[in-house]
């Protein structure tokens, strides 16, 4: 058993959120780069090569500024498709789909307000950027056997016998976060009884940068534009139906897909393996515990209805960086109660609001009761709903609401 040095920050999980957080703390995105350890059982180099993560993420303008400040946007930009238009419809699978909302996403002088990027490109760009930073040390290939969160530092005891010690442990280890469980932080939430099927399709016609969100009876069906004639699909179905669809061969699956996708983009083909995730909403009851801060999916999993999962994680990382640096630069404890309280205060409300909004949208639209459909589509109630709905999409699309952490304004932390 040996401990080489005490890191400032030990991040559990070298996925998208963990890599981004590592850059926020130890990379060029920080005016006072910290000593960071990235701990993961998997080697992120293998994760970038292996098969691929078929998902895509919406990158808001605030997230883009953060990537710029961290010196990683140039590597992402070639893979980023600007979202020029968002269309939201409410309809039956085979019937007409009245457009509830259709708006051009305003172009700011600094560029479009949101982009779609495949997660594999995000992962590769973040990984390369992290590798170039000497301040960030990979501690990969071994499981964490035991966490200790008592005293002036967190200690991660690896199965190799090595101990990674740090002033603060950051849990970016996903929805089943081992660090969160070790700290005894409980979660609240529920399963939707739905699965999200994710894949990429190619189509003959150009999408013109239009994102489509069809609120079908079983749940939202999103078509999100990727560079070229490619689109990312997020297809929500009841659990049983999703299982049935996943069991189909490619040809039969594609036939089902076309029924929902429509014909406006010409012939459609599968361009990636399909993956399905059970959907649920959960929020950690606390975002912090002594020597521990949760971020990304470890802290909250929201409905993918608006593609906001990764953005929430980035906002977490940016806010945590500000809270920690505020203490660190004064010589105070970067993992002490003051830093953690500041982070908790900052992120709690935003997390709950996004979770509640995406949950409410999903519940409102995931049903096929005629009476409700009538009410939904009836003039007045639609108008009443459109405004908050539109505001929600606009606000979240730009990611510019509220008091922004420095990184989200494009300034280093």
């Amino acid at each position: 058993m040996h401990q080489d040095e005490v890191f400032d920050i030990a991040i559990c999980g070298a996925g998208l959120n963990g890599l981004a957080a590592a850059l926020a703390f130890g990379g060029p995105g920080n005016r006072t780069p910290l000593k960071v350890a990235l701990v993961d059982q998997r080697d992120p180099a293998l994760a970038t090569q292996a098969g691929f993560d078929g998902r895509a993420s919406a990158i808001t303008q605030a997230a883009r500024r953060m990537f710029e400040a961290m010196g990683v946007w140039d590597a992402i930009a070639p893979h980023a498709e600007p979202m020029r238009e968002i269309m939201v419809t409410d309809g039956q699978t085979d019937g007409p789909r009245p457009a509830l909302l259709n708006f051009g996403v305003e172009h700011q002088p600094s560029g479009p307000s949101a982009y779609m990027v495949e997660n594999r490109h995000l992962l590769a760009a973040l990984y390369e950027a992290v590798r170039a930073v000497a301040q960030i040390t990979f501690k990969t290939g071994h499981k964490v056997e035991r966490f200790s969160f008592t005293g002036p530092q967190a200690e991660l005891h690896l199965t190799s016998g090595q101990i990674v010690a740090a002033r603060l442990c950051v849990a970016a280890d996903g929805r089943h976060s081992q660090a969160r469980q070790a700290a005894g932080i409980e979660t609240i939430g529920w399963a939707y009884g739905q699965s999200g099927i994710v894949t990429t399709v190619s189509h003959d016609g150009p999408h013109g940068g239009r994102a489509e969100e069809h609120f079908l009876p079983s749940g939202p069906f999103a078509i999100l534009p990727l560079p070229g004639n490619l689109s990312s699909l997020v297809w929500t179905e009841d659990q049983l139906e999703a299982d049935r669809l996943m069991a189909l061969d490619d040809e039969a699956f594609l036939a089902e897909l076309k029924r929902r996708f429509g014909e406006h983009l010409g012939a459609v083909r599968l361009a990636a393996p399909r993956q399905a995730w059970p959907l649920g909403l959960f929020i950690a009851k606390s975002l912090t515990a002594p020597r521990l801060a949760l971020l990304g999916d470890a802290a909250h999993v929201v409905h993918p209805i608006a593609g906001l999962g990764f953005n929430l994680g980035l906002r977490d990382a940016a806010a945590l960086a500000d809270a920690v640096m505020g203490q660190f630069r004064l010589g105070l404890d970067p993992g002490g109660p003051q830093a953690l309280q500041a982070y908790e205060r900052w992120r709690r409300l935003d997390t709950v609001m996004v979770a509640a909004a995406t949950d409410g949208l999903n519940r409102l639209f995931s049903n096929d009761i005629e009476a409700l459909r009538f009410i939904r589509d009836a003039g007045l109630s639609v108008v009443e709903r459109i405004d908050p709905l539109k505001r929600f999409f606009m606000r979240e699309a730009a990611g510019l609401s509220g008091h922004l952490p420095r990184l989200m304004t494009g300034e280093p932390a």
Binding site: Q3, V6, R31, T32, P33, S148, T150, G151, P152, E155, I163, A165, G326, R329, L330, G331, L332, G336, P337, Q338
Partner: protein, 260 residues
């Protein structure tokens, strides 16, 4: 306690030649340290106050010594004296910012508490049970002297300031923080903080011993230092935060330099 900690603690405690904490006492002082360092405990008001003092010190010192305030250890190599250091609430941050810190306090209990906590944090700080006169008698000299919330407690402020100022090297800076003697400071610092809010034990401060900025300035000049305009520190009861302000009626800080 973790085995790792104990070994480093033992090493640190041996390193300090001035005073020792024997094994039987470690648990007691560790508990006292936990109390000192609990932001919502007995010394909570000091923790609330600390960031504004630290930000002022860091900003002023880096500017005077031409250091990069964004550096990891901007005060590296500078010799610093924290007079009346208590449990080390200022000494520890200064050590983390790279300063070579001597912490002095006449209370053995405070010094032992500070010593145990610094060891737990892995910080090397030269803590001493000593008054300013003792250090001066040893001929110690410093680049930075922190004289924070001390002068209003000493018997003879002018003599005390003279002794501390004499330990400042040419080009060095002394930062003094204290309470002004005004009606407002009586209302807020004595009646408010001690009697109404219960932030401080009754009798912590004697209003008669508070010092006006002019009096302080006079003492600094007598010590051969060049005082700068003092800045106030005010409390915002809505946000619960202390801020720097022009208002020097209650709490204020002042920087003084010894010319080369």
């Amino acid at each position: 306690m973790q085995p790792l900690l104990r070994s480093s603690l033992g090493k640190r405690l041996e390193m300090s030649g001035q005073i020792s904490v024997d094994d039987a006492e470690v648990a007691k002082f560790s508990a006292l340290a936990a109390e000192w360092w609990n932001p919502s405990g007995k010394f909570g008001v000091l923790h609330k106050f600390n960031p504004v003092r630290l930000a002022f010190i860091r900003e002023q010192v880096t500017a005077r010594f031409g250091r990069d305030p964004m550096a990891r250890e901007p005060l590296v190599g500078l010799k610093l004296l924290d007079i009346g250091c208590g449990g080390g609430l200022l000494s520890e941050p200064m050590a983390r910012l790279g300063a070579l810190v001597t912490g002095a306090d006449p209370s053995e209990k405070n010094i032992k508490t500070a010593l145990v906590h610094a060891a737990e944090q892995g910080l090397a700080i030269d803590y001493r049970v000593a008054a300013a006169e003792d250090l001066a008698a040893e001929g110690m000299k410093f680049d930075i002297i922190l004289n924070m919330e001390v002068i209003e407690h000493v018997r003879d402020p002018a003599a005390f300031m003279g002794v501390t100022a004499a330990m400042l090297k040419p080009g060095g800076v002394m930062i003094t923080a204290t309470l002004n003697r005004t009606f407002k400071s009586f209302a807020l610092a004595i009646v408010g903080a001690e009697y109404v809010l219960g932030w401080l034990p009754k009798g912590t401060h004697q209003w008669e011993k508070f010092i006006t900025p002019d009096e302080l300035s006079g003492m600094l000049k007598s010590g051969g230092l060049v005082p700068r305009e003092p800045v106030g520190v005010t409390y915002n009861p809505l946000s619960g935060e202390w801020r720097r302000a022009r208002d020097t009626d209650v709490n204020y800080m002042a920087l003084a330099e010894r010319p080369h």
